[in-house]
């Protein structure tokens, strides 16, 4: 299944890219984060993140579908 993943802020720097198309067997955002953390050594734990799928906040256990756009959201700091 192919997914689009976008990276922001610290995770963008750690992944070394701002987005990518990814071939993955991950069924949920939680699975996907485990997979990507082993690849990019993200320092943020899942408990520190939120996740968005197709530009809306999502559960970590949502079933991902081909073509979904996933964003892991580090602790925010606006203003």
């Amino acid at each position: 299944m192919q997914l689009k993943v976008q990276y922001y802020a610290l995770m963008r720097e750690q992944a070394g890219r701002s987005e990518e198309m990814l071939e993955t067997a991950a069924a949920t955002p939680a699975d996907l984060y485990v997979e990507l953390t082993s690849r990019y050594r993200f320092t943020l734990t899942r408990e520190q993140l939120k996740v968005a799928v197709n530009s809306e906040f999502s559960d970590w256990s949502r079933r991902l579908a081909a073509g979904d756009a996933v964003v892991f959201i580090p602790p925010v700091a606006g203003g």
Binding site: Q14, G16, V76, G78, G79
Partner: protein, 154 residues
């Protein structure tokens, strides 16, 4: 559109005009400025980055909630992104209301919620030469000290 981003200086005079209302007796605005000191470090400049698609939706929700929750007339929030220098304005919130109390309450509510809920991040650059993503570095520092990409972060 009651929440938006700009990559140039926030035009507060133009934004304020959107809130003018002959039934309003009070107007409260908030500006977030780039401060020269944060958590023990001398700051020299900031970078703001947003997940804009979701941030605009969440920002709109926050302002709409404030308009429902507080009896105010108009409200608007504008957030800057990109590189900012000391004293630059990072965010602006304006609220007009019949009575001033509600304008204060709604304005404060909006900026508090924006800071907690809207996917925006800031990277502080320090006089020491270090830099760091606010709210991300400290909590992330413990688990992995082996990553090469950490050299410039606190």
């Amino acid at each position: 559109m009651r929440f938006r981003f700009t990559s140039t200086a926030i035009d507060t005079a133009q934004a304020r005009r959107q809130l003018l209302d002959q039934g309003a007796g009070g107007y409260v605005s908030f500006e977030g400025w780039v401060r020269d000191f944060n958590e023990g470090q001398e700051v020299t400049r900031l970078e703001y980055e947003a997940f804009q698609e979701l941030a605009v939706k969440e920002g709109e929700r926050i302002v709409a909630e404030a308009l429902q929750r507080f009896p105010v007339r108009q409200a608007l929030c504008i957030h800057r992104i990109g590189n900012l220098d000391l004293s630059d304005m990072a965010v602006w919130v304006g609220v007009s209301a019949v009575h001033r109390g509600e304008a204060f309450d709604a304005c404060r509510h909006i900026i508090d919620e924006v800071k907690h809920r809207v996917p925006i991040w800031k990277k502080e650059h320090y006089r020491s030469g270090d830099s760091g993503w606010v709210n991300c570095e400290r909590c992330a520092a413990a688990p992995h000290h082996d990553s090469a990409s950490h050299s410039m972060h606190k």
